[in-house]
Amino acid sequence: VAEAVETRVASPTEAANTESGEASVGDAQSPAPASEQASPSPIGAQPVGVSPVIPPELIALPEGVRHAIDAPTAGSPAAKRRGAREQVVDPQVSYAKFDREVEWLRRYEMAQRQRGLLLIEAAFPRVVIAVCVPQVRPYVLLFGVIIDYTNWDVEPPSVRLIDPFTFRPLVARELSTWMKRRVNVGAPDFTPAVPQVSDEQVAPGRAPAPVAGAPVQESAILQWSGPDDFPFLCLAGVLEYHEHPAHTGDSWWLHRTTGAGSLSHLLNVFHSYAIAPITGFMPAFDFRPVNGAVQIEVRGVQLTVGQLPA
């Protein structure tokens, strides 16, 4: 039985877009040709029985999405990611280490594929993965991921969630999962009988171990500031985590030699928190009273999840 419901799946309109975010913005803002302006609804003007072909320039992204792509908040992780990363480490070093990661991925590609992690492309400095859910029918493609190994491994990789069909970065409102986990938050001060989390249990780089009787709450590995911000993987071993002002005390150099940021680590996180918890679908309905009757409208499909991983 599903215990919780994740966010809704993006509607076809939201998912539709053109080749890149920048191109979409420009296209959406450009005036439509005179012939199209003459018809208030070019799509509707199609003959009955003929599938409408929607010109790319007519597929407008929601205002918030266009704004987030065009002008992310200054200083935000999204803004930093937007700036081109410059390779300052000896390229041969980064390339050799990147090759090692890709070699591992290709060697165990079938195992990763069976888990729902499909390799789309791998060319220095980036690896592109499609994150799918193979255990439900119909299959689900959650999102794509670009893992950018520029300056690896002096710097951790940058991880961005994308539309796997266009490579356009996704904003928070488009997510179909937040990659939730159970987090032991320790015992509240007013109940001293409940065991506390010791320092050992929260050693650097280690999630607090479950403590019997202590309260547990949900936390999301994907973080963002607002619905139109680009979500990032808030995880040690990821550039966006270590660049975030809240994590200045957790340097990448404390994690660099431990395997954090490797493809093995990142793909395992996506499998554990994005793929494995999903158990199925549930349609979402809107009920509206209309003239004494109830009108039911299918609002979309929600993913259901089982027990969240710790």
């Binding site: 165990y108 195992a111 986990r181 780089g205 999630a207 808030c234 395997g259 954090a260 395992n268």
Partner: protein, 106 residues
Amino acid sequence: MGREEEFVMTVANGGTARGGENDKNHVTLTVVVNTVPTAVEANIHWKMRTVMERAFEQSGTTGRDPSQWEFKDANGALINLERTVQSYGFTDGTTLFLTLAAGISG
């Protein structure tokens, strides 16, 4: 090479000797520690925790507590460290994955 020289002595978990091709009590598992594969000669009565420790030892993996790792099979199913190799029915050449868990996030 004589038969005795083929013996591989295992010392963990009380230690047993592996002798030749007819030994039914041992399997060779390929454990991929992060990205490094290592072949672990495991007694079928070992707990999976012992297999994990042996894999860490053989791959020279240090620096993180074993609790910060996830042990999964090829399908991504988490392996119970208290179960034995035999209970999983692993055979020679089975590939398992030891990968860093998420750790602190958010």
